[in-house]
């Protein structure tokens, strides 16, 4: 268990969770075929990649704020 002051300071970690919202909700940025990855259009591999990035960010915040 972390003590009271550490867990209060660590609330800032939650700001990391804003990043996925910017990443996947700004649609004009990724609504394109190019750059392709192994023949997979950007629109698709970009959003699949964010599944992983978002999970990692969530894990970091979970660890840092526990």
């Amino acid at each position: 268990m972390t003590n009271e002051s550490t867990s209060r300071g660590s609330k800032l970690w939650y700001l990391l969770l804003i990043i996925p919202y910017i990443g996947v909700l700004w649609v004009p940025f990724f609504n394109s075929i190019q750059p392709e990855f192994n023949g997979i259009p950007f629109f698709y591999w970009y959003q699949f990649l964010w599944v992983i990035i978002s999970a990692v960010l969530t894990w970091i915040v979970y660890r840092a704020t526990g």
Binding site: V24, Y44, F48, A55, Y62
Partner: protein
Amino acid sequence: MNWTALTVFILLFAIVTVLGFVAARWRQGNLDQLHEWGLAGRRFGTVITWFLLGGDLYTAYTFIAVPALMFGAGAIGLFALPYTIVVYPFVLMVFPRLWSVAHKRGYITAADFVHGRYDSPVLALLIALTGILATMPYIALQLVGIQVVIGAMGFHGTGIIGDLPLIIAFAILAAYTYTSGLRAPAIIAVVKDALIYITVIAAVIIIPQQLGGFAHIFSSIPEKKLLLPVPPAGSLGAYSAYATLAFGSALTLFLYPHSVTGVLSASSRKVIRRNTALLPAYTFLLGLIALLGYMALVAGVHDMPAYAPYFKQYGPNFAVPALILHSFPAWFAGFAFGAIAIGALVPAAIMSIAAANLFTRNIYRPYVRPNCTDKQESSMAKLISLVVKVGALAFIIFLPLKYAIQLQLLGGVWIIQTLPAIVIGLFSRWLHRWALVLGWLAGMVSGTWMVASLQFKGTVYPLHLSGLTIPGYAALYALVINLVVAAVFTVVFNVLGVSSGKDHTAQDDYEADSDASA
């Protein structure tokens, strides 16, 4: 009739049925208590919660409908991916607090929390009714998943014979949910998810090989389908539709009673927090399943005479079953269909339990029988879980499918109206209880009106703002109206000195963890 597939299917179904009944004895508790029957005694650890929530949130209907949307409409169908990406950061911020306060105060439903927090039976009743209303059509839609795969194996008669397999499947489900409560879907979810993962991994390895690789699949899809259409001048077009559908749906998902039931059945706050980083595995899976819609397009199943009658009956929902029949040997098709059908049973069971908990805790106990014993409360919940399932079954058998789909769309617009009371309530008690009631009313009416103005065909409402059209998810627009009304009337009621009631929760409750993991 596809006998090989049917045999495998029935075998899987039989295994799951046995598990469902045996579940009553797993981590045994006194099932005459509602928190034992309806929350499995709040004992699930990280792994079971992962399976349970995965099986609960990513339903069979999703697995049929998302690829069907990709198959029919293209890129817009992929909004399910950003939706199930951004949901977890939100859940990590909000729902551990709900777990904590519910654990501390013995709450079983979100309406219990609202009652305690705002000292308002009226608001709690509205939250409970909204939950039940939104859940019913959702259960009905799970049946569609079962119906389509049963049809795919050759049962596509009309009348009572055609519906018989569905009735049998649901009767079995109803029986073990009645006896085992939440333990049944929890155990079955483990089997279901194993089957689904095997099916999808096999599908995304084998089918692209048959079709010449992923690159070839994508290059065979017309660009019109592959990307969202660029918005015309003066409109944000498909861009705002895609983003608001994803964001609004993410806000909505964990407000559904079956999600809350899944969250509250966890054994500690940490289990929920940890799962927000682990559940995205299902999101990745869902994305792969979405791509099956494109594979079905490229495989050309739509033009194969053998499948024509099915497409006529089930529409694009038949895309994935047809692809499976076309690409796999019969025994594996039976395996995959078993996965989809069992995938429908898990959420259907949890939804009916959640609706039963709400009815019993927040309607029956306070309004019908205030002095009921724990045993009577638990018996009532078991009975209601049956009623809810019979209702859903009747809905699918006697009414056209489009009503269930329309009501489920409306369900999302309705359930999001509980966000101010639940989510904001978890952080602050600033909003006045009567202002929340008025906000809820404004959100429900405006949301329903927006969907009605679209002839109940969709939920993307074209909002006009000084010359700019912003097509967006009606649920989100209605939520904004809800929040504005709630905020304005909070000020009004405070000025008028209307009592805001007594808060039955304490500040510390929201960070509390179970004794075991402290």
